[in-house]
Symmetry: C2
Subunit: 272 residues, 2 copies
Amino acid sequence: MLNIAVVGLGLIGGSIAGALKKSNKYKVDGANRSRAPIEFAIENGLIDGEAKSLSDYDVVFVALPPEVTMRVLNDSAFADGAIVADICGIKGDILSCVRQKKRNYRYVGTHPMAGKEVSGVNNASPDLFRGANMVLTRDDETDEEAFEIMRELTRDMGFGRIVECDAAFHDKKIALTSQLAHIVSNAYVKSPEIENCLGFTGGSFQDMTRIAAVDECVWTELYMHNQKNLESELSLLIQNLQAYCDALRMNSPEKLALLLKEGREIKQKFDS
Amino acid sequence: MLNIAVVGLGLIGGSIAGALKKSNKYKVDGANRSRAPIEFAIENGLIDGEAKSLSDYDVVFVALPPEVTMRVLNDSAFADGAIVADICGIKGDILSCVRQKKRNYRYVGTHPMAGKEVSGVNNASPDLFRGANMVLTRDDETDEEAFEIMRELTRDMGFGRIVECDAAFHDKKIALTSQLAHIVSNAYVKSPEIENCLGFTGGSFQDMTRIAAVDECVWTELYMHNQKNLESELSLLIQNLQAYCDALRMNSPEKLALLLKEGREIKQKFDS
Protein backbone atom coordinates (compact mmCIF):
# COMPACT_ATOMS: atom_id res chain seq x y z
CA MET A 1 0.00 0.00 0.00
CA LEU A 2 1.46 3.33 -1.13
CA ASN A 3 2.08 5.92 1.55
CA ILE A 4 0.83 9.28 0.32
CA ALA A 5 1.26 12.75 1.79
CA VAL A 6 -0.64 15.83 0.74
CA VAL A 7 1.03 19.12 1.61
CA GLY A 8 -1.40 22.00 1.86
CA LEU A 9 -4.89 21.12 3.01
CA GLY A 10 -7.00 23.63 1.14
CA LEU A 11 -9.86 23.01 -1.26
CA ILE A 12 -7.72 21.08 -3.75
CA GLY A 13 -5.33 19.40 -1.31
CA GLY A 14 -8.17 18.33 0.95
CA SER A 15 -10.10 16.98 -2.00
CA ILE A 16 -7.10 15.06 -3.38
CA ALA A 17 -6.51 13.51 0.04
CA GLY A 18 -10.18 12.69 0.52
CA ALA A 19 -10.54 11.19 -2.97
CA LEU A 20 -7.48 8.98 -2.56
CA LYS A 21 -8.50 7.89 0.90
CA LYS A 22 -12.01 7.08 -0.31
CA SER A 23 -10.55 4.62 -2.83
CA ASN A 24 -9.38 2.51 0.15
CA LYS A 25 -6.15 1.72 -1.69
CA TYR A 26 -3.76 4.10 0.04
CA LYS A 27 -2.64 5.46 3.36
CA VAL A 28 -3.06 9.22 3.09
CA ASP A 29 -1.60 11.76 5.49
CA GLY A 30 -1.73 15.54 5.37
CA ALA A 31 0.59 18.40 6.24
CA ASN A 32 -0.36 22.00 6.69
CA ARG A 33 1.30 25.13 8.07
CA SER A 34 -1.58 25.84 10.42
CA ARG A 35 -3.08 23.20 12.67
CA ALA A 36 -6.84 23.63 12.21
CA PRO A 37 -7.11 22.19 8.65
CA ILE A 38 -5.26 19.04 9.75
CA GLU A 39 -7.71 18.47 12.56
CA PHE A 40 -10.65 19.22 10.28
CA ALA A 41 -9.31 16.79 7.68
CA ILE A 42 -8.84 14.01 10.22
CA GLU A 43 -12.26 14.54 11.77
CA ASN A 44 -13.92 14.55 8.36
CA GLY A 45 -12.13 11.47 7.09
CA LEU A 46 -10.10 13.26 4.41
CA ILE A 47 -6.76 12.03 5.80
CA ASP A 48 -5.56 9.21 8.05
CA GLY A 49 -3.25 11.41 10.06
CA GLU A 50 -0.65 14.12 10.04
CA ALA A 51 2.39 13.87 7.77
CA LYS A 52 5.29 14.82 10.04
CA SER A 53 8.22 14.18 7.71
CA LEU A 54 7.78 14.20 3.91
CA SER A 55 10.71 11.80 3.55
CA ASP A 56 8.49 9.01 4.92
CA TYR A 57 6.26 8.94 1.84
CA ASP A 58 6.19 7.17 -1.53
CA VAL A 59 4.12 9.90 -3.09
CA VAL A 60 3.84 13.56 -2.12
CA PHE A 61 1.25 15.98 -3.55
CA VAL A 62 2.23 19.58 -3.05
CA ALA A 63 -1.12 21.38 -3.17
CA LEU A 64 0.04 24.97 -2.77
CA PRO A 65 0.32 28.16 -4.86
CA PRO A 66 3.33 28.46 -7.25
CA GLU A 67 5.89 30.34 -5.10
CA VAL A 68 5.59 28.19 -2.02
CA THR A 69 5.29 25.05 -4.17
CA MET A 70 8.71 25.89 -5.62
CA ARG A 71 10.11 26.39 -2.13
CA VAL A 72 8.81 22.97 -1.05
CA LEU A 73 10.15 21.32 -4.22
CA ASN A 74 13.55 22.94 -3.62
CA ASP A 75 13.96 22.73 0.12
CA SER A 76 12.10 19.69 1.44
CA ALA A 77 13.69 16.31 2.05
CA PHE A 78 11.94 13.61 0.05
CA ALA A 79 12.61 9.87 0.05
CA ASP A 80 14.93 8.64 -2.72
CA GLY A 81 12.75 7.86 -5.73
CA ALA A 82 9.61 9.34 -4.19
CA ILE A 83 7.04 10.57 -6.67
CA VAL A 84 6.43 14.27 -6.12
CA ALA A 85 3.64 16.15 -7.86
CA ASP A 86 2.50 19.76 -7.81
CA ILE A 87 -1.04 20.83 -8.65
CA CYS A 88 -0.32 24.36 -9.89
CA GLY A 89 -2.27 26.08 -12.63
CA ILE A 90 1.02 26.91 -14.37
CA LYS A 91 3.58 24.31 -15.29
CA GLY A 92 6.52 25.86 -17.16
CA ASP A 93 8.12 27.69 -14.25
CA ILE A 94 7.51 24.80 -11.85
CA LEU A 95 9.26 22.44 -14.25
CA SER A 96 12.19 24.85 -14.69
CA CYS A 97 12.54 25.00 -10.93
CA VAL A 98 12.56 21.21 -10.58
CA ARG A 99 14.98 20.69 -13.47
CA GLN A 100 17.51 23.31 -12.38
CA LYS A 101 19.38 20.60 -10.49
CA LYS A 102 19.47 16.84 -10.07
CA ARG A 103 16.70 15.62 -7.73
CA ASN A 104 16.46 12.43 -5.68
CA TYR A 105 12.71 12.39 -6.37
CA ARG A 106 10.65 11.81 -9.49
CA TYR A 107 8.57 14.83 -10.49
CA VAL A 108 5.24 14.73 -12.32
CA GLY A 109 3.17 17.85 -12.99
CA THR A 110 -0.56 17.71 -12.41
CA HIS A 111 -3.31 20.25 -12.93
CA PRO A 112 -6.73 19.11 -11.73
CA MET A 113 -9.22 21.12 -13.79
CA ALA A 114 -11.76 21.45 -11.04
CA GLY A 115 -12.43 24.02 -8.41
CA LYS A 116 -15.09 25.96 -6.70
CA GLU A 117 -15.70 29.64 -6.20
CA VAL A 118 -14.93 29.02 -2.53
CA SER A 119 -11.70 27.82 -0.94
CA GLY A 120 -10.49 26.06 2.17
CA VAL A 121 -10.49 22.50 3.44
CA ASN A 122 -14.02 22.91 4.77
CA ASN A 123 -15.16 23.09 1.14
CA ALA A 124 -13.07 20.09 0.09
CA SER A 125 -14.83 16.97 -1.12
CA PRO A 126 -13.67 13.48 -2.13
CA ASP A 127 -16.03 13.87 -5.11
CA LEU A 128 -14.75 17.26 -6.33
CA PHE A 129 -12.94 15.68 -9.27
CA ARG A 130 -15.63 13.24 -10.36
CA GLY A 131 -15.83 13.45 -14.14
CA ALA A 132 -13.48 16.46 -14.31
CA ASN A 133 -10.45 16.90 -16.54
CA MET A 134 -6.91 16.26 -15.31
CA VAL A 135 -3.81 17.44 -17.12
CA LEU A 136 -0.58 15.53 -16.46
CA THR A 137 2.61 17.15 -17.74
CA ARG A 138 5.82 15.40 -18.74
CA ASP A 139 9.14 16.10 -20.40
CA ASP A 140 12.12 14.05 -21.61
CA GLU A 141 13.30 13.47 -18.06
CA THR A 142 9.97 12.24 -16.73
CA ASP A 143 10.20 8.80 -15.12
CA GLU A 144 7.81 6.47 -16.95
CA GLU A 145 6.95 4.39 -13.90
CA ALA A 146 6.23 7.48 -11.81
CA PHE A 147 4.07 8.87 -14.60
CA GLU A 148 2.06 5.63 -14.80
CA ILE A 149 1.53 5.55 -11.04
CA MET A 150 0.37 9.17 -11.16
CA ARG A 151 -2.04 8.29 -13.93
CA GLU A 152 -3.48 5.50 -11.76
CA LEU A 153 -3.77 7.76 -8.72
CA THR A 154 -5.54 10.26 -10.91
CA ARG A 155 -8.02 7.65 -12.10
CA ASP A 156 -8.61 6.67 -8.49
CA MET A 157 -9.46 10.28 -7.69
CA GLY A 158 -12.37 10.04 -10.10
CA PHE A 159 -11.22 12.23 -12.98
CA GLY A 160 -13.19 11.74 -16.18
CA ARG A 161 -10.61 12.66 -18.78
CA ILE A 162 -6.87 12.53 -18.25
CA VAL A 163 -4.71 14.27 -20.84
CA GLU A 164 -0.94 14.52 -21.02
CA CYS A 165 1.22 17.18 -22.62
CA ASP A 166 4.36 19.19 -22.03
CA ALA A 167 4.43 22.17 -19.69
CA ALA A 168 4.57 24.79 -22.46
CA PHE A 169 1.48 23.39 -24.20
CA HIS A 170 -0.36 23.30 -20.88
CA ASP A 171 0.46 26.91 -20.12
CA LYS A 172 -0.71 28.11 -23.53
CA LYS A 173 -4.04 26.28 -23.27
CA ILE A 174 -4.68 27.23 -19.67
CA ALA A 175 -4.17 30.92 -20.40
CA LEU A 176 -7.36 30.71 -22.45
CA THR A 177 -9.40 28.04 -20.68
CA SER A 178 -8.91 29.19 -17.10
CA GLN A 179 -6.77 32.27 -16.50
CA LEU A 180 -8.51 34.58 -18.99
CA ALA A 181 -11.95 33.48 -17.77
CA HIS A 182 -11.13 34.60 -14.24
CA ILE A 183 -9.95 38.03 -15.44
CA VAL A 184 -13.03 38.52 -17.59
CA SER A 185 -15.34 37.59 -14.73
CA ASN A 186 -13.44 39.86 -12.34
CA ALA A 187 -13.63 42.78 -14.80
CA TYR A 188 -17.27 42.12 -15.71
CA VAL A 189 -18.60 43.09 -12.29
CA LYS A 190 -16.91 46.51 -12.44
CA SER A 191 -19.76 48.19 -14.31
CA PRO A 192 -21.65 50.71 -12.15
CA GLU A 193 -24.85 49.13 -13.50
CA ILE A 194 -24.22 46.17 -11.20
CA GLU A 195 -25.81 48.29 -8.47
CA ASN A 196 -29.47 47.36 -8.06
CA CYS A 197 -29.39 44.82 -10.85
CA LEU A 198 -30.91 42.09 -8.71
CA GLY A 199 -33.99 40.89 -10.50
CA PHE A 200 -32.45 41.71 -13.88
CA THR A 201 -30.10 38.74 -13.94
CA GLY A 202 -30.46 35.35 -15.55
CA GLY A 203 -28.20 32.38 -16.11
CA SER A 204 -25.86 34.27 -18.43
CA PHE A 205 -25.01 36.89 -15.81
CA GLN A 206 -24.60 34.25 -13.13
CA ASP A 207 -22.24 32.23 -15.32
CA MET A 208 -20.27 35.29 -16.36
CA THR A 209 -19.70 36.49 -12.80
CA ARG A 210 -19.53 33.23 -10.80
CA ILE A 211 -15.74 33.21 -10.52
CA ALA A 212 -15.27 36.99 -10.18
CA ALA A 213 -14.19 36.89 -6.53
CA VAL A 214 -10.73 35.43 -7.17
CA ASP A 215 -8.12 35.27 -4.45
CA GLU A 216 -5.89 38.04 -5.77
CA CYS A 217 -2.75 36.64 -4.10
CA VAL A 218 -2.98 33.18 -5.67
CA TRP A 219 -4.13 34.42 -9.06
CA THR A 220 -1.57 37.18 -9.34
CA GLU A 221 1.11 34.54 -8.82
CA LEU A 222 -0.43 32.28 -11.44
CA TYR A 223 -0.77 35.15 -13.89
CA MET A 224 2.78 36.43 -13.42
CA HIS A 225 4.09 32.91 -14.10
CA ASN A 226 2.19 32.80 -17.39
CA GLN A 227 2.48 36.43 -18.33
CA LYS A 228 3.25 36.17 -22.05
CA ASN A 229 0.53 33.63 -22.84
CA LEU A 230 -2.08 35.43 -20.79
CA GLU A 231 -1.21 38.85 -22.17
CA SER A 232 -1.55 37.47 -25.65
CA GLU A 233 -4.97 35.92 -24.95
CA LEU A 234 -6.20 39.04 -23.21
CA SER A 235 -5.02 41.34 -26.03
CA LEU A 236 -6.75 39.14 -28.55
CA LEU A 237 -10.01 39.14 -26.60
CA ILE A 238 -9.91 42.93 -26.27
CA GLN A 239 -9.30 43.22 -30.01
CA ASN A 240 -12.20 40.87 -30.73
CA LEU A 241 -14.53 42.75 -28.37
CA GLN A 242 -13.52 46.03 -29.98
CA ALA A 243 -14.85 44.76 -33.30
CA TYR A 244 -18.37 44.38 -31.83
CA CYS A 245 -18.05 47.79 -30.24
CA ASP A 246 -17.06 49.32 -33.58
CA ALA A 247 -20.00 47.65 -35.32
CA LEU A 248 -22.37 49.12 -32.73
CA ARG A 249 -20.78 52.55 -33.02
CA MET A 250 -20.94 52.42 -36.82
CA ASN A 251 -24.60 51.43 -36.52
CA SER A 252 -23.97 48.36 -38.65
CA PRO A 253 -26.31 45.43 -38.02
CA GLU A 254 -24.67 43.58 -40.93
CA LYS A 255 -21.22 43.77 -39.38
CA LEU A 256 -22.58 42.85 -35.96
CA ALA A 257 -24.47 39.83 -37.29
CA LEU A 258 -21.34 38.67 -39.08
CA LEU A 259 -19.27 38.87 -35.89
CA LEU A 260 -21.91 36.95 -33.93
CA LYS A 261 -22.16 34.35 -36.68
CA GLU A 262 -18.39 33.78 -36.58
CA GLY A 263 -18.52 33.10 -32.84
CA ARG A 264 -21.58 30.89 -33.14
CA GLU A 265 -19.91 28.75 -35.79
CA ILE A 266 -16.74 28.32 -33.76
CA LYS A 267 -18.74 27.34 -30.68
CA GLN A 268 -20.87 24.88 -32.63
CA LYS A 269 -17.76 23.31 -34.16
CA PHE A 270 -16.22 23.08 -30.70
CA ASP A 271 -19.29 21.35 -29.29
CA SER A 272 -19.70 18.92 -32.18
CA MET B 1 -61.43 31.62 -17.03
CA LEU B 2 -59.13 33.92 -19.01
CA ASN B 3 -58.58 33.06 -22.64
CA ILE B 4 -54.87 33.39 -23.42
CA ALA B 5 -53.06 33.28 -26.75
CA VAL B 6 -49.33 32.93 -27.19
CA VAL B 7 -48.01 34.12 -30.56
CA GLY B 8 -44.70 32.52 -31.51
CA LEU B 9 -44.17 29.01 -30.21
CA GLY B 10 -40.42 28.95 -29.69
CA LEU B 11 -38.49 28.20 -26.52
CA ILE B 12 -39.97 31.14 -24.60
CA GLY B 13 -43.44 31.17 -26.13
CA GLY B 14 -43.80 27.43 -25.73
CA SER B 15 -42.65 27.63 -22.12
CA ILE B 16 -45.02 30.51 -21.30
CA ALA B 17 -47.91 28.57 -22.79
CA GLY B 18 -46.93 25.36 -21.02
CA ALA B 19 -46.43 27.09 -17.67
CA LEU B 20 -49.82 28.84 -17.84
CA LYS B 21 -51.58 25.70 -18.98
CA LYS B 22 -49.95 23.68 -16.19
CA SER B 23 -51.52 26.03 -13.62
CA ASN B 24 -54.94 24.73 -14.75
CA LYS B 25 -56.35 28.24 -14.41
CA TYR B 26 -56.45 29.33 -18.04
CA LYS B 27 -57.36 28.27 -21.52
CA VAL B 28 -54.16 28.65 -23.54
CA ASP B 29 -53.94 28.60 -27.31
CA GLY B 30 -50.94 29.11 -29.56
CA ALA B 31 -50.28 30.74 -32.91
CA ASN B 32 -47.24 30.25 -35.10
CA ARG B 33 -46.27 31.07 -38.67
CA SER B 34 -45.27 27.49 -39.44
CA ARG B 35 -47.51 24.56 -38.59
CA ALA B 36 -45.11 22.05 -36.95
CA PRO B 37 -44.59 23.90 -33.61
CA ILE B 38 -48.37 24.15 -33.13
CA GLU B 39 -48.77 20.43 -33.57
CA PHE B 40 -45.80 19.75 -31.32
CA ALA B 41 -47.22 22.07 -28.64
CA ILE B 42 -50.64 20.41 -28.76
CA GLU B 43 -49.19 16.90 -28.66
CA ASN B 44 -46.96 17.79 -25.73
CA GLY B 45 -49.65 19.53 -23.74
CA LEU B 46 -48.17 23.03 -23.97
CA ILE B 47 -51.33 24.51 -25.52
CA ASP B 48 -55.00 23.60 -25.69
CA GLY B 49 -55.33 24.40 -29.37
CA GLU B 50 -54.52 26.78 -32.18
CA ALA B 51 -55.27 30.49 -31.82
CA LYS B 52 -56.90 31.39 -35.13
CA SER B 53 -57.87 35.01 -34.44
CA LEU B 54 -56.07 37.10 -31.81
CA SER B 55 -59.18 39.22 -31.29
CA ASP B 56 -60.79 36.25 -29.50
CA TYR B 57 -58.45 36.50 -26.49
CA ASP B 58 -58.38 38.33 -23.17
CA VAL B 59 -54.59 38.14 -22.98
CA VAL B 60 -52.06 37.83 -25.80
CA PHE B 61 -48.37 37.11 -25.30
CA VAL B 62 -46.30 38.05 -28.33
CA ALA B 63 -43.24 35.84 -27.96
CA LEU B 64 -41.23 36.96 -30.97
CA PRO B 65 -38.07 38.96 -31.73
CA PRO B 66 -38.32 42.79 -31.65
CA GLU B 67 -39.05 43.66 -35.31
CA VAL B 68 -41.82 41.16 -35.82
CA THR B 69 -43.17 41.86 -32.33
CA MET B 70 -43.61 45.49 -33.35
CA ARG B 71 -45.37 44.43 -36.54
CA VAL B 72 -47.78 42.26 -34.54
CA LEU B 73 -48.40 45.06 -32.01
CA ASN B 74 -49.09 47.48 -34.86
CA ASP B 75 -51.00 45.42 -37.33
CA SER B 76 -52.95 42.73 -35.47
CA ALA B 77 -56.56 43.07 -34.42
CA PHE B 78 -56.94 42.61 -30.67
CA ALA B 79 -60.13 42.59 -28.62
CA ASP B 80 -61.02 45.94 -27.03
CA GLY B 81 -59.29 46.08 -23.65
CA ALA B 82 -57.26 42.93 -24.26
CA ILE B 83 -54.02 42.72 -22.32
CA VAL B 84 -51.13 42.42 -24.76
CA ALA B 85 -47.61 41.67 -23.62
CA ASP B 86 -44.31 41.30 -25.45
CA ILE B 87 -41.40 39.27 -24.08
CA CYS B 88 -38.55 41.12 -25.81
CA GLY B 89 -35.14 41.63 -24.28
CA ILE B 90 -35.40 45.35 -25.06
CA LYS B 91 -38.25 47.50 -23.89
CA GLY B 92 -37.72 51.14 -24.90
CA ASP B 93 -38.32 50.78 -28.63
CA ILE B 94 -41.25 48.39 -28.11
CA LEU B 95 -42.89 50.90 -25.80
CA SER B 96 -42.31 53.75 -28.29
CA CYS B 97 -43.94 51.65 -30.97
CA VAL B 98 -46.99 50.91 -28.81
CA ARG B 99 -47.36 54.52 -27.63
CA GLN B 100 -47.06 56.11 -31.07
CA LYS B 101 -50.82 55.95 -31.38
CA LYS B 102 -53.90 55.21 -29.32
CA ARG B 103 -54.47 51.45 -28.90
CA ASN B 104 -57.63 49.52 -28.13
CA TYR B 105 -55.54 47.08 -26.09
CA ARG B 106 -53.67 47.43 -22.79
CA TYR B 107 -49.93 46.91 -23.17
CA VAL B 108 -47.61 45.52 -20.51
CA GLY B 109 -43.93 44.82 -21.17
CA THR B 110 -42.44 41.58 -19.85
CA HIS B 111 -38.95 40.19 -19.97
CA PRO B 112 -38.61 36.67 -18.59
CA MET B 113 -34.98 36.36 -17.45
CA ALA B 114 -34.64 32.74 -18.37
CA GLY B 115 -33.46 30.93 -21.41
CA LYS B 116 -31.39 28.09 -22.64
CA GLU B 117 -28.48 27.83 -25.00
CA VAL B 118 -30.86 26.01 -27.33
CA SER B 119 -34.03 27.29 -28.99
CA GLY B 120 -37.28 25.99 -30.42
CA VAL B 121 -40.54 24.68 -28.99
CA ASN B 122 -39.04 21.21 -28.62
CA ASN B 123 -36.81 22.66 -25.90
CA ALA B 124 -39.68 24.49 -24.21
CA SER B 125 -40.71 23.46 -20.71
CA PRO B 126 -43.51 24.48 -18.33
CA ASP B 127 -40.79 24.63 -15.65
CA LEU B 128 -38.33 26.87 -17.52
CA PHE B 129 -39.19 29.89 -15.38
CA ARG B 130 -39.28 28.18 -11.99
CA GLY B 131 -37.41 30.46 -9.58
CA ALA B 132 -36.21 32.77 -12.37
CA ASN B 133 -36.46 36.56 -12.48
CA MET B 134 -39.20 38.38 -14.37
CA VAL B 135 -39.07 42.06 -15.25
CA LEU B 136 -42.39 43.83 -15.85
CA THR B 137 -42.19 47.30 -17.39
CA ARG B 138 -44.68 50.10 -17.00
CA ASP B 139 -45.10 53.78 -17.77
CA ASP B 140 -47.60 56.52 -16.95
CA GLU B 141 -50.11 55.11 -19.39
CA THR B 142 -49.98 51.56 -18.07
CA ASP B 143 -53.40 50.23 -17.05
CA GLU B 144 -53.23 49.23 -13.40
CA GLU B 145 -55.66 46.34 -13.68
CA ALA B 146 -53.82 44.94 -16.71
CA PHE B 147 -50.55 45.24 -14.84
CA GLU B 148 -51.93 43.37 -11.82
CA ILE B 149 -53.32 40.57 -13.99
CA MET B 150 -49.94 40.28 -15.71
CA ARG B 151 -48.29 40.07 -12.32
CA GLU B 152 -50.60 37.21 -11.37
CA LEU B 153 -50.00 35.40 -14.66
CA THR B 154 -46.30 35.79 -14.05
CA ARG B 155 -46.57 34.29 -10.58
CA ASP B 156 -48.52 31.39 -12.05
CA MET B 157 -45.69 30.77 -14.50
CA GLY B 158 -43.43 30.03 -11.53
CA PHE B 159 -41.14 33.05 -11.53
CA GLY B 160 -39.21 33.51 -8.31
CA ARG B 161 -38.68 37.25 -8.28
CA ILE B 162 -40.85 39.75 -10.13
CA VAL B 163 -39.50 43.29 -10.46
CA GLU B 164 -41.07 46.30 -12.09
CA CYS B 165 -39.45 49.35 -13.63
CA ASP B 166 -39.70 51.64 -16.62
CA ALA B 167 -38.44 50.65 -20.05
CA ALA B 168 -35.35 52.87 -19.95
CA PHE B 169 -34.17 51.41 -16.63
CA HIS B 170 -34.72 47.90 -17.94
CA ASP B 171 -32.70 48.56 -21.08
CA LYS B 172 -29.76 49.98 -19.12
CA LYS B 173 -29.65 47.03 -16.71
CA ILE B 174 -30.12 44.42 -19.39
CA ALA B 175 -27.23 45.77 -21.46
CA LEU B 176 -24.99 44.61 -18.63
CA THR B 177 -26.74 41.56 -17.24
CA SER B 178 -27.62 39.84 -20.49
CA GLN B 179 -26.58 41.51 -23.73
CA LEU B 180 -22.94 42.10 -22.84
CA ALA B 181 -22.60 38.55 -21.49
CA HIS B 182 -23.63 37.10 -24.83
CA ILE B 183 -21.09 39.24 -26.71
CA VAL B 184 -18.30 38.32 -24.32
CA SER B 185 -19.08 34.62 -24.62
CA ASN B 186 -19.29 34.88 -28.40
CA ALA B 187 -15.94 36.69 -28.57
CA TYR B 188 -14.28 34.40 -26.03
CA VAL B 189 -14.31 31.37 -28.31
CA LYS B 190 -12.49 33.22 -31.09
CA SER B 191 -9.01 32.48 -29.73
CA PRO B 192 -7.09 30.03 -31.93
CA GLU B 193 -6.15 28.20 -28.71
CA ILE B 194 -9.69 26.83 -28.60
CA GLU B 195 -8.43 24.19 -31.04
CA ASN B 196 -7.53 21.02 -29.18
CA CYS B 197 -8.33 22.45 -25.79
CA LEU B 198 -10.55 19.54 -24.83
CA GLY B 199 -9.23 18.16 -21.59
CA PHE B 200 -7.93 21.59 -20.57
CA THR B 201 -11.31 22.98 -19.63
CA GLY B 202 -13.01 23.27 -16.28
CA GLY B 203 -16.15 24.93 -15.01
CA SER B 204 -14.89 28.44 -15.67
CA PHE B 205 -14.43 27.81 -19.39
CA GLN B 206 -17.77 26.07 -19.64
CA ASP B 207 -19.52 28.96 -17.93
CA MET B 208 -17.73 31.56 -20.03
CA THR B 209 -18.60 29.92 -23.34
CA ARG B 210 -22.00 28.33 -22.66
CA ILE B 211 -24.00 31.04 -24.43
CA ALA B 212 -21.48 31.69 -27.24
CA ALA B 213 -23.63 30.21 -30.00
CA VAL B 214 -26.16 33.04 -30.11
CA ASP B 215 -28.71 33.30 -32.90
CA GLU B 216 -27.14 36.22 -34.74
CA CYS B 217 -30.45 37.35 -36.26
CA VAL B 218 -32.31 37.67 -32.96
CA TRP B 219 -29.37 39.12 -31.05
CA THR B 220 -28.40 41.64 -33.70
CA GLU B 221 -31.95 42.98 -33.50
CA LEU B 222 -31.82 43.14 -29.72
CA TYR B 223 -28.43 44.85 -29.79
CA MET B 224 -29.41 47.44 -32.41
CA HIS B 225 -32.44 48.36 -30.30
CA ASN B 226 -30.21 48.99 -27.30
CA GLN B 227 -27.19 50.30 -29.10
CA LYS B 228 -26.19 53.20 -26.84
CA ASN B 229 -26.46 51.30 -23.57
CA LEU B 230 -24.67 48.26 -24.93
CA GLU B 231 -21.91 50.28 -26.56
CA SER B 232 -21.33 52.02 -23.28
CA GLU B 233 -21.14 48.75 -21.30
CA LEU B 234 -18.88 47.15 -23.89
CA SER B 235 -16.52 50.15 -24.01
CA LEU B 236 -16.28 50.12 -20.25
CA LEU B 237 -15.51 46.40 -20.13
CA ILE B 238 -12.80 46.79 -22.79
CA GLN B 239 -11.31 49.66 -20.81
CA ASN B 240 -11.37 47.59 -17.62
CA LEU B 241 -9.80 44.57 -19.35
CA GLN B 242 -7.11 46.82 -20.81
CA ALA B 243 -6.01 47.71 -17.28
CA TYR B 244 -5.21 44.05 -16.51
CA CYS B 245 -3.43 43.78 -19.84
CA ASP B 246 -1.34 46.84 -19.05
CA ALA B 247 -0.43 45.47 -15.61
CA LEU B 248 0.76 42.24 -17.23
CA ARG B 249 2.71 44.12 -19.89
CA MET B 250 4.30 46.37 -17.26
CA ASN B 251 5.19 43.26 -15.30
CA SER B 252 3.45 44.64 -12.23
CA PRO B 253 2.09 42.06 -9.80
CA GLU B 254 1.11 44.87 -7.42
CA LYS B 255 -1.09 46.56 -10.02
CA LEU B 256 -2.56 43.23 -11.09
CA ALA B 257 -3.37 42.21 -7.52
CA LEU B 258 -5.05 45.56 -6.95
CA LEU B 259 -7.26 45.15 -10.02
CA LEU B 260 -8.25 41.63 -8.95
CA LYS B 261 -8.95 42.80 -5.42
CA GLU B 262 -11.28 45.54 -6.72
CA GLY B 263 -13.30 42.99 -8.67
CA ARG B 264 -13.36 40.53 -5.77
CA GLU B 265 -14.69 43.16 -3.40
CA ILE B 266 -17.44 44.25 -5.80
CA LYS B 267 -18.50 40.64 -6.32
CA GLN B 268 -18.52 39.90 -2.60
CA LYS B 269 -20.58 43.01 -1.93
CA PHE B 270 -22.98 41.98 -4.71
CA ASP B 271 -23.37 38.49 -3.22
CA SER B 272 -23.81 39.67 0.35
